[in-house]
């Protein structure tokens, strides 16, 4: 208990004093996971909507693959991305191993199936005749897709939260492709792992609390947006 108390005290100190190192790590976490989530939103919503709306042979298998991808282990993604961008790997020429860019790519790969799976389910859940109704109002195909996405905005915002939650808390892939380099690729999760392994539990708990606060604040903002969009 004393240890947890110390951790909370330390967290408050670090937050109130705007500790430059902790602030740097926090902003980098937010930047990497935020960008990864944005990329996953673009890819996930587009592909999820397309899969939901287009009938093609093997659709059920594709949906099963997407659903499996929602539980993609971050270490497997980390391994896969590391092999790809390793000096001698197929994308080694990019020279991005142990950089924030590699972390963004790995996190985007983790978040995309989550966003895709939720988007797919959200669009499929809309009434079957709704797309015909929107087309009959005079919409082009593109306008129809846009109206459907807007109609599914509440579950889609849940997809944003799930995607962001998945990557901000992820550690395996970030350590593997980012390297946890101080001041460069160290984020809240990798720093927490490192401080725990060094026995600095108070700092580790403090970082953990900051991570929780960050996730809470982002979700609070998204929930506000989600609930405000609903007409009374």
């Amino acid at each position: 208990m004393e240890l947890i108390g110390e951790g909370i005290k330390k967290a408050l100190e670090l937050i109130i004093s705007f500790d430059p190192e902790v602030m740097g790590i926090t902003f980098l976490s937010l930047k990497i996971s935020g960008l990864a989530t944005l990329i996953s939103l673009f890819l996930g919503i587009s592909a999820g909507t397309a899969i939901a709306l287009i009938n093609f042979p093997g659709k059920k298998i594709v949906i099963s693959l997407v659903n499996t991808g929602m539980g993609l282990p971050p270490v497997v993604v980390g391994l896969f991305v590391t092999v790809l961008i390793w000096r001698n790997g197929p994308l080694g020429f990019l020279e991005i191993l142990y950089t924030p860019s590699a972390m963004i790519i790995a996190q985007a790969i983790i978040a995309t199936p989550i966003v895709m799976g939720i988007s797919l389910a959200a669009i499929q859940h809309l009434p079957e005749n709704l797309r015909l109704q929107i087309l009959s109002l005079g919409a082009t195909r593109l306008q129809m897709v846009w109206v459907l996405i807007k109609e599914a905005r509440l579950p889609l915002l849940a997809a944003v939260m799930a995607g962001f939650g998945g990557v901000i808390s992820e550690v395996g892939a970030s350590i593997m492709v980012g390297g946890n380099i101080k001041g460069y690729s160290r984020v809240l999760t990798t720093a927490t792992v490192m401080e725990t392994s060094k026995g600095n539990f108070d700092i580790a708990i403090a970082l953990g609390i900051i991570l929780l606060l960050l996730a809470f604040c982002v979700n609070l903002i998204l929930t506000q947006i989600q609930q405000r969009q609903r007409p009374r």
């Binding site: 009959s136 109002l137 005079g138 007409p231």
Partner: protein
């Protein structure tokens, strides 16, 4: 474009998942008229409506809208932007009522008068007070009125309604049908309505097309289809509840004597002696009395036993045995006046002109 024909269908075939769901030889939609498509479930009414609305791509045949043959995606978009469709479900978006009704106008780029058009359409259907309410919080009847207002706000040339009243309770239905009838009369918008309800059809239709298995079996004015069905299927569907097999015994100047079981029915028509026919009788054309009434002009009188009395709300449905089965409707008051009960003896009478005769192949 043929004079006042808004839409023409010729030899149109629509396949879905390798099954032919529509095979329409000929159909004309007349401008300013209300055409009601009737038929059982799976007859192809909805598929035909969606095809007419440019929402389904047909494989063969021609669909002409105001003389323009609908072939490409661009043509179908043009068609969709001249029509409105109201589905069985209200299909409103999770927005306010106002935004729902305005959506079609925005999608069609009619941005000039959105507020006035939306308000007018909401007013037409008596839901102007709901403009700022969430469409998710409406009752079934209110949602249906809003979906109709959304369709009419577009001021379409053709409105297509797919069983629009089937999900509502009868009193709600009543009011909405009244409003729809009034607004269609006022705006003179051409309408095609899919329905399986005879009363709705009789109230709304100028023309009726009876469908079965993706084909149009009979098309004509409501009176023609209801009073002169072309075959047993149509007769059964439009509510000639008594359909009797008979053989024409003789025909003198259009007055036929038809043998049904061991009885003779007098009917008007042109079938020759010896022809096998169906005699179709609508239950509302049968009169019931305790004894033969000479004051009636009816030519057919049959002593009958009341087999069953079914309560149908404001009237009773009588199942009679006259030597052949006969169904009649009688008001509750008449039933009480005649003190009718099961197993009572009565006289059933009907005019020769009330018998619709159809040739029988078997």
């Amino acid at each position: 474009m043929t004079n006042n024909i808004l839409m023409q269908v010729n030899n149109l075939v629509l396949d879905r998942r390798s099954v032919t769901v529509l095979d329409i030889e000929k159909l004309n939609v007349t401008a300013g008229k209300i055409l009601v498509l009737i038929g059982p479930n799976g007859a192809g009414k909805s598929s035909l409506l969606l095809t007419l609305a440019g929402l389904l791509k047909f494989q063969k045949g021609r669909l002409n809208y105001q003389g323009i043959s609908i072939k490409s995606g661009k043509d179908r978009l043009m068609l969709r932007r001249n029509c409105s469709v109201v589905f069985q479900e209200s299909l409103l978006l999770d927005e306010t009522v106002y935004k729902n009704v305005a959506l079609g106008l925005k999608l069609r780029g009619k941005n000039n008068n959105i507020k006035a058009d939306v308000e007018e359409a909401l007013y037409y259907f008596g839901v102007n007070n709901l403009a700022q309410r969430s469409a998710r919080n409406l009752s079934g009847g209110e949602a249906k009125r809003v979906s109709l207002a959304r369709a009419f706000a577009l001021k379409p040339q053709l409105i297509l309604l797919d069983e629009p009243f089937s999900s509502l309770d009868p009193p709600t239905n009543e009011g909405i049908i009244d409003d729809l009838q009034r607004i269609l009369e006022k705006t003179k918008i051409t309408a095609v309505i899919a329905s399986h309800n005879r009363e709705e059809t009789l109230r709304l239709a100028h023309d009726v097309a009876v469908m079965n298995n993706g084909k149009i079996i009979q098309i004509g004015t409501a009176a023609e289809v209801f009073n002169q069905p072309v075959n047993e299927f149509v007769a059964d569907f439009v509510g000639a509840e008594t359909i009797l097999e008979g053989i024409v015994k003789s025909n003198h100047d259009g007055i036929m004597m038809i043998t049904v079981k061991d009885k003779t029915i007098e009917a008007t028509g042109n079938y020759a002696g010896g022809e096998k026919v169906y005699c179709c009788l609508r239950p509302e054309n049968i009169m019931i009395s305790r004894e033969i009434q000479n004051k009636y002009s009816a030519r057919n009188f049959f002593p009958a036993k009341v087999k069953k009395v079914h309560n149908q709300g404001i009237f009773n449905k009588l199942i009679l045995d006259c030597g052949f089965p006969l169904v009649a409707y009688i008001t509750k008051n008449s039933c009480e006046d005649l003190s009718l009960q099961e197993d009572d003896s009565v006289v059933a009478s009907f005019k020769a002109t009330a018998v619709h005769v159809i040739r029988r192949e078997k």
